[in-house]
């Protein structure tokens, strides 16, 4: 493995999607838990916990998509056309999730709020599941043909292994969202969320262990990969340690550290996914020669170089104002007249 532009862009696209999973992950998790709260004030508190940031978090997905388009156009074209209906459903889910946050507070009627609560929650759950199913299919391997095309149907994507990845993704986002909620709330809701966070952790651990066994048993190319690179277990171990750290931090009252551990869980999961794929992005287990890799699917070195300059100018700025926005809105949520 040598350090070249293709590798750098594989990492950068990975960073953008990991950023998305880590940031919008808690928005989607809060959404998935939304209907479990039953008082309007609790729901408003949860919504306002993500209110100032959800929209910026979604930009990580948009930019990740743009970067994939620019750096690996063949992968972008093949995945998006091959996963057509699943992505359209994801778009619909993200639309309902997003507008519901904005619309809900604009009218006081019960039915109105109920309608957008359902739209917010179902949109979030569906988004998390679909993102997981897409990742699951990529991990399982996809039948890319010799022209680099992928003929897909929605039902063809919903096989057991990808569905398991989908549920695991939902579980990790719910855990992440619940912990974010613990960090941002106080009083009764805070205690309630802490109980949910523990339940979500158990749910996630069950999913993760099942997924790991299923991967080693049923996805031979991934299993072979792990066997050839036993150090990959250290990433999995880091993942488990960050999960284990969450209850420990809760016990010590370090809610922010618990949240950072949860971020670590997501980062290690994404790293595990990427390390298992590289140098392939879309792997065809039946015909490995058709696989799209970071080399045969990439843009020209010139474009990758230009993009790297753009990234070097843009990314530090992005990180600077992302950090400052989170800093401005730090602390517990207080409902006021500009709140949702």
């Amino acid at each position: 493995m040598q350090l070249d532009l293709n590798l750098i862009w594989f990492v950068l696209v990975g960073v953008l999607f990991t950023g998305y999973a880590m940031l919008d992950g808690f928005d989607l998790g809060v959404g998935a838990l939304h209907l479990f709260t039953n008082k309007d004030e609790e729901r408003r508190t949860m919504l306002n916990a993500i209110g100032p940031v959800w929209d910026g978090n979604e930009v990580w997905l948009v930019t990740g998509g743009g970067a994939l388009f620019a750096a690996f156009p063949s992968v972008y074209a093949t995945v998006f056309s091959g996963f057509y209906l699943a992505l359209m459903l994801l778009l619909a889910a993200l639309i309902f999730r997003g507008v519901a946050i904005e619309f809900r507070s604009k009218q006081p009627m019960r039915w109105w709020r109920q309608m957008w609560d359902v739209s917010f929650s179902v949109g979030s759950i569906l988004s998390a599941l679909l993102i997981g199913v897409a990742l699951g299919n990529i991990a399982w391997g996809v039948p890319v043909d010799e022209h680099g095309e992928l003929a897909g149907s929605l039902l063809g994507l919903l096989t057991p292994y990808p569905l398991l990845v989908g549920v695991t993704t939902l579980a990790v986002f719910m855990m992440h969202g619940a912990i974010y909620g613990v960090m941002k709330t106080e009083g009764e809701l805070h205690d309630k969320l802490r109980v949910w966070a523990m339940r979500c952790i158990i749910f996630f651990v069950i999913c993760a262990v099942t997924l790991m066994m299923a991967t080693l048993l049923y996805v031979p190319h991934l299993a072979a990969r792990v066997r050839a690179n036993p150090w990959l277990f250290s990433v999995a171990l880091a993942n488990m340690l960050s999960i284990a750290n969450i209850p420990r931090e809760f016990h010590r009252g370090g809610d922010r550290m618990a949240f950072l551990s949860s971020c670590g869980t997501i980062i290690t999961l994404m790293a595990l996914f990427a390390l298992n794929l590289f140098p392939n992005i879309l792997y065809n287990p039946q015909h490995p020669e058709n696989s799209l890799t970071v080399y045969n699917a990439a843009s020209s070195p010139k474009t990758l170089g230009i993009m790297l300059v753009i990234a070097c100018i843009g990314v530090p700025a992005v990180i600077a104002y992302t950090v400052s926005i989170y800093w401005i809105f730090r602390g517990k949520v207080k409902l006021d007249r500009v709140s949702y």
Partner: protein
């Protein structure tokens, strides 16, 4: 219907719906900067109230803009995979740059603009408003770069042949400043300013008619009318420059706009008329020589007609003609309406002329109409090419996506967008009927001046 027609309807429809909102965000963004700037400068609480009211409207348009915006980015890959493979090297970088430079800036500072009123100081808040406005303008820059590259590709070469052919960047700055980019950017941004300004004009005129929030409405009208007039005049200038560029870079498109079949010197410009594709002529009133003059600054220079192009290389003539003339008509009406408004406002008799106020109320539709028709004219006039002169639209389709699949997503988005639009109109009307909040006359939290009474933050 086949995949091509369905995919074109889907892309056109989703972008048309999306394009209601970004121009409003860009235009309102600019007006918010003016309002808040005036507040900081004069300390007049009316400007603060104004900024607060329009921020709430801005939030609504922005949310739908964001929600509907990702759709197009996905559709390049889902519906136009072959196009995406072909242009990714060139086109993708513009989209990625838009994400990095524009969207993060916009969405990050939007948080402060919307929720930071009582959390940060005045200057920081004003700075955030400026950044949101700047971010909105940046996104216009990069999307116009990408789209203009499809109109007038530059700074690339084609590598490989047949199925494996693709465009690769040779010169990034040539790609960015491709021949039509600057003029189209100017025209697009002016159109967005018009959308924002006429929106404020419309709501303010409505309050005057209803006799509500009079001080607020008069103050809003005062500068929004001026911005509307300035922007719509500038729109005519940039439109003229843009059309000259089209004449130079995409002559078939200009010929279709004017229904000009034979290359003629002293070419006429259609003032009011209809193109007759069968007989290859235009019936109606034309101004002789004007098209030659507008295109080449000279009444006698010939303008290229459609007959110079093979039938398969011509854009759909009737549609291009109608969209273009509709846009020009709406644009001219905007100038007239804004000029009348400014005239009577300064005369001090605007509030007595109810007919004009009613026209101002409905004037919000003019820039929307002009923006939509202008975008249609630009894109339909580009046909039959997806990348002008390089790749034809049918060649860009996804190879393996089936018509039924596209149809189901088209139905899905049609339903969602009708619902979104209905909710948008309902909530917008509700906000307008409620009007500005009286308590916004007293800035709260860190925004309050020390001499003012302490702020009370009551949950609603």
């Amino acid at each position: 219907m086949d995949v091509l027609t369905l995919s074109r309807i889907q892309f056109g429809g989703t972008i048309a719906f999306h394009y209601i909102y970004p121009p409003l965000s860009i235009g309102l963004g600019l007006l918010l900067v003016i309002m808040e700037g005036l507040w900081l400068k004069t300390g007049n609480p009316l400007y603060h109230q104004m900024a607060r009211f329009w921020t709430r409207v801005f939030a609504l348009t922005f949310a739908i803009g964001v929600a509907t915006g990702i759709v197009m980015e996905f559709e390049f890959g889902t519906n136009w995979a072959t196009y995406s493979r072909f242009v990714g090297d060139v086109f993708g970088s513009a989209l990625a740059a838009e994400g990095i430079f524009a969207f993060f800036l916009e969405s990050g500072f939007l948080a402060v603009l919307l929720f930071g009123w009582d959390k940060v100081g005045r200057k920081m808040h004003f700075f955030s408003t400026c950044m949101v406005c700047l971010g909105a303008h940046f996104s216009a820059v990069w999307i116009v770069v990408a789209n203009s590259w499809m109109q007038t590709p530059a700074g690339y070469h084609i590598v490989g042949e047949g199925m494996h052919a693709r465009a690769e960047v040779t010169d990034f700055w040539q790609l960015v400043f491709n021949p039509s980019m600057m003029e189209r950017l100017g025209h697009t941004v002016c159109g967005a300013w018009c959308a924002g300004a006429f929106f404020v004009v419309s709501v303010s005129a409505y309050y005057l008619l209803r006799g509500k929030h009079l001080d607020f409405a008069r103050k809003s009208l005062k500068f929004s009318l001026v911005v509307a007039l300035g922007a719509s005049l500038l729109q005519a200038v940039t439109g003229h420059i843009s059309a000259q560029g089209v004449g130079k870079n995409q002559p078939a498109k200009l010929a279709a706009f004017e229904g000009l079949y034979n290359t003629t010197s002293n070419a006429p410009m259609v003032v009011l008329g209809m193109v007759d594709e069968k007989n290859e002529r235009v019936t109606g009133i034309s101004a002789p020589g004007l098209l030659s003059f507008m295109t080449h600054n000279d009444f006698h220079t010939p303008v290229t007609g459609l007959n110079e192009f093979k039938p398969e290389d011509r854009p759909p003539v009737t549609a291009s003609f109608l969209f273009f003339h509709g846009m020009v008509g709406a644009g001219l009406l905007m100038i007239a309406v804004a000029a009348l408004g400014v005239l009577y406002f300064h005369h001090g008799s605007l509030h007595e002329r109810r007919w004009l106020l009613w026209i101002l109320v409905f004037s919000v539709l003019l820039p929307q109409l002009a923006n939509q028709l202008g975008w249609f004219a630009a894109e339909v006039g580009r046909q039959p090419w997806i990348v002008y002169g390089v790749m034809r639209t049918p060649e860009g389709l996804s190879a393996l996506v089936k018509a039924n699949t596209v149809l189901s997503s088209l139905v899905l988005f049609t339903l969602i967008y009708f619902l979104l639009f209905a909710v948008f109109i309902y909530l917008l009307n509700d906000k307008i009927q409620h009007g500005p909040h009286a308590d916004d006359l007293v800035p709260a939290g860190k925004l309050a001046l020390p001499v003012l009474t302490p702020a009370t933050n009551e949950p609603k």
